[in-house]
């Protein structure tokens, strides 16, 4: 942390829910009295391309962009995307990863190789990495869209806020609009939390 600013980088692929996850974290940071800035992605980049969002919060945030190599936490929805942005994380910073690989056509088509061991590579670079298969958990729970909530569960123990407050922030969205999904999301949140813990 620099000047009391927490820097969180959320990364993944268009359509995975990176933006929603960041929005929920941002709303919690606001509820806790922080100044907040958060970058969005729109247009062309969303079409299956690389998506990332910078979230910065603290007493007073200037640039919306996390200075190079200063992210405290990288929350990554895909392992190669974690590796892509890993140099943005400060030494000793934390990387939380969904290990389910998603191969773009240029990789499955044989034009480029997929990195052999993204998690190992990041660990060797001095980062703390907690990696688990959030996609498998989502499938077990019967809804692929839950990856989002699972990943938020994974980060819950590492924020400067009580775990239950994040959980409440996630679930309140469903209580308001789709109450039936609140219980399922609570299970997903807890599963993500234990997933990250078991990987620690």
């Amino acid at each position: 942390m620099q000047n009391g600013i927490t820097n969180i980088l959320v990364a993944g692929i268009g359509g995975q829910g990176v933006m929603t996850a960041t929005e929920i974290l941002a709303q919690l940071a606001i509820a806790k009295g922080n100044d907040v800035k958060k970058t969005e992605v729109a247009g062309m980049a969303q079409r299956g391309g690389v998506v990332n969002s910078h979230l910065r919060f603290g007493p007073h945030v200037l640039s919306p962009v996390i200075p190079a190599g200063c992210a405290d936490i990288l929350l990554a929805f895909e392992p190669a995307e974690a590796l892509r942005w890993s140099k943005e994380v400060r030494l000793g910073g934390l990387v939380l990863i969904n290990t389910a690989r998603q191969l773009p056509p240029v990789v499955s088509g044989g034009l480029y190789p997929y990195p052999e061991d993204p998690v190992g590579e990041m660990r060797r670079a001095g980062l703390t990495v907690y990696a688990f298969d959030a996609t498998a958990i989502a499938h077990e729970l019967g809804e692929i869209k839950l990856i989002n909530t699972i990943m938020l569960g994974a980060i819950a123990d590492h924020l400067p806020f009580p775990v239950d407050d994040l959980k409440e922030q996630v679930l309140s969205r469903f209580r308001a609009r789709k109450p039936a999904l609140a219980a399922l999301n609570e299970r997903a949140f807890e599963a993500g939390r234990s997933g990250a813990r078991a990987a620690a």
Binding site: T39, V41, A45, G49, S63
Partner: protein
């Protein structure tokens, strides 16, 4: 809080808003009566957000020029008006506003133009601040959402005080960053009524000539206003070795990187308050101008005799992010630059690609199979992605609507009788209505030999699925007259028998239609009729799957380019002929497959099967 409820939030509350949402909120509070736009990243959400407020007319117009003209009419009538667009939209709109600048605004007119600094989603990186110079209009440049909100309010006042349209210039880093904004409440504006005044509103040479001195006087008045505007402020620093003159989000990056340096932050950046800069310069060692992207302030300050460093120090393109500005400025100060010695990981590129079941894939599958026989003039939309892997099926892309004229130019430039390759133009529904119709008219009028593929996916896909006149719905989703594309292209002069409507999922039919139309030396139009998979009109079907035992590894289905088709293994085989062939076995990701069936038509071995074809032992 949801995005919509943040927009509607009560006065005096603090909300997390994007720059675009902040502009919309301020426009509503300023009492805007008319809001116009044409979608374009990063500006699209200004009008989308504005359309959620009550008591005003909002529209996505057919193109930026029309959007500008509607806005001009509203301003002439006395209503507060906002017209928003992306940077390249200004090129389209320029004819209208270059002369409107002469007549000047009646009701406050704010032109919110968003530059895509860093090229996240655009075909160029032009600097819209030139238009302020070219068109004699003031420019306000916010750095973040709070400023976007404040400056939008200020822009309406400025517009009415000086009777000028005002350019509110943002960049992607303002439009698409969410930050805290304290919102206010709406103000009543007087009822608008057009007051005839031909000397002012009818720009014939005589009248326009009489406006010229007024235009130049206005420039002078605006310069004086900029000199004392609270939107321009000096932040005294403690380390006065280098002082920065800056505008837009670059201010935040500099403040982050050099917190102790003096900064002259220009919010009202054109006309340049030269005397203010001169005064600021006296208190600092070296003066550095940090602007995105062209050296406009720099050139004008140098012309005024000031000694400044600008683009000789900082990059001429891209964002001036902390990691971009820090090394050169530290170098100037003679300080060491810290470098990150950690290795940079190598990761494959993940370029954007067409969605699963995107109807455009059928078109590019067909085109890639006749690649040697066609030149493909492309346009701007999701279908520009046809330039990428695996189709590689675009030869040109310049700007919206250009596929038509460029195709005709290619046809006319080649020697008479050279028809080795057929010329095909590919254009989407929204782009066709934006600026393609005129080009097609030119093709028919000048008897070009071009086959047009009009990809009607019933939405403006690339910018997030806005309605257009082809959809039969307006910006609010209300029913509106629906363009009949067949009748339209016939009216533009394409013979009835040269117009076909084809289902792009029916690959063999589409391929046949393309072969036939490209063989006939006349203008022809093939309209595809499947909706974008991201809009409500699209209905998902049941996923297909691959029977592994039957898959021969021929790889034909991978030519469709569908992200749901995943390669499982590769191999090589020596054929009886002695030729070595590459083999690619696949599976289908059933969690993403929507059952469009395009790949089924490519599979000679019948290995791709639908649910009803799955044998019982598999279940």
């Amino acid at each position: 809080m949801s995005a919509a409820s943040a927009l509607q939030a009560p006065a005096a509350t603090r909300q997390l808003l994007s720059g675009n949402e902040a502009i919309a909120r301020a426009a509503w509070e300023a009492g805007v009566r008319v809001g116009t736009s044409y979608p374009g990243t990063p500006a699209t959400e200004i009008l989308e957000a504005l359309s959620m407020y009550p008591g005003l007319h909002t529209e996505f117009s057919v193109n930026e020029k029309v959007a500008m003209e509607v806005a001009i009419g509203a301003s002439m009538t006395g209503a507060r008006t906002i017209c928003s667009m992306k940077h390249v939209g200004m090129n389209v709109a320029a004819d209208a506003f270059m002369t409107f600048s002469y007549t000047g605004a009646n009701g406050g007119l704010v032109i919110a133009v968003a530059d895509d600094v860093g090229l996240s989603s655009s075909q160029n990186e032009q600097d819209s601040r030139y238009w302020g110079r070219f068109g004699h209009m003031p420019i306000l440049e916010p750095a973040d959402s709070e400023e976007a909100y404040q400056m939008t309010l200020a822009a309406f006042d400025l517009s009415e005080r000086f009777g000028t349209p005002v350019i509110l210039r943002t960049t992607t880093r303002v439009c698409h960053v969410k930050a805290m904004v304290t919102v206010g409440s709406p103000r009543e504006q007087p009822i608008a009524q057009f007051a005839p005044d031909p000397m002012r509103w009818v720009m014939v040479p005589g009248n326009a000539g009489r406006r010229l001195p007024l235009l130049h006087k206005r420039d002078g008045d605006l310069r004086e206003a900029a000199e004392i505007s609270p939107l321009n402020r000096i932040e005294e620093g403690t380390d006065k070795r280098v002082g920065f003159v800056t505008s837009g989000p670059a201010y935040l990056h500099l403040k982050e990187s050099f917190p102790d340096a003096p900064i002259l932050k220009l919010g009202f950046s054109h006309p340049v308050p030269v005397e203010l800069v001169r005064a600021f310069a006296k208190g600092v060692g070296q003066l550095v101008v940090a602007e995105e992207t062209e050296p406009l302030l720099e050139t004008e300050l140098k012309a005024a005799g000031l000694t400044v460093l600008g683009k000789e120090l900082l990059p001429r393109w891209g964002e001036l992010l902390p990691n971009v500005v820090t090394p050169p400025v530290k170098g100037l100060l003679g300080e060491p630059v810290e470098t990150d010695s950690r290795p940079t990981p190598t990761v494959f590129p993940r370029p954007p690609t067409l969605c699963v079941a995107c109807p455009h894939m059928g078109v590019y599958f067909a085109l890639s199979h006749m690649r040697q026989k066609v030149l493909i003039s492309g346009d701007i939309g999701c279908y520009t992605l046809g330039a990428g892997h695996p189709w590689m099926a675009l030869d040109t892309t310049i700007c919206m609507g250009a596929s038509m004229g460029i195709a005709l130019g290619m046809d006319k430039a080649r020697p008479d009788g050279d028809t080795k390759k057929s010329i095909v133009a590919v254009i989407g529904d929204s782009t066709f209505l934006h600026m393609g119709m005129q080009g097609l008219l030119d093709i028919t009028y000048n008897r070009g030999n071009v086959t047009v593929l009009l990809l009607d996916n019933r939405t403006t896909g690339m910018t997030g699925g806005q309605n257009n006149p082809g959809c039969g719905r307006d910006v609010h989703g209300e029913v509106a007259p629906e363009v009949d594309f067949v009748k339209l292209v016939e009216a533009l002069g394409v013979k009835k028998e040269r117009v076909r409507v084809v289902d792009p999922y029916e690959l063999p039919t589409l391929y046949k239609a393309l072969r036939e139309e490209t063989a006939i030396p006349e203008p022809s139009v093939i309209i595809t009729n499947r909706p974008c998979t991201l809009i409500d009109e699209y209905t998902r079907m049941v996923p297909f799957r691959v029977e592994d035992a039957r898959c021969t590894g021929c790889g034909a289905c991978t030519d469709v380019g569908c992200p749901s088709i995943v390669v499982t293994r590769r191999g090589k085989e020596i054929r009886k002929s002695g030729n070595e062939v590459e083999l690619t076995w696949v599976t289908i990701d059933t969690s993403t497959c929507t059952g469009c069936g395009m790949c089924v038509k490519t599979c000679g071995a019948d290995a791709i099967v639908g649910p009803s074809l799955i044998k019982s032992e598999d279940i």
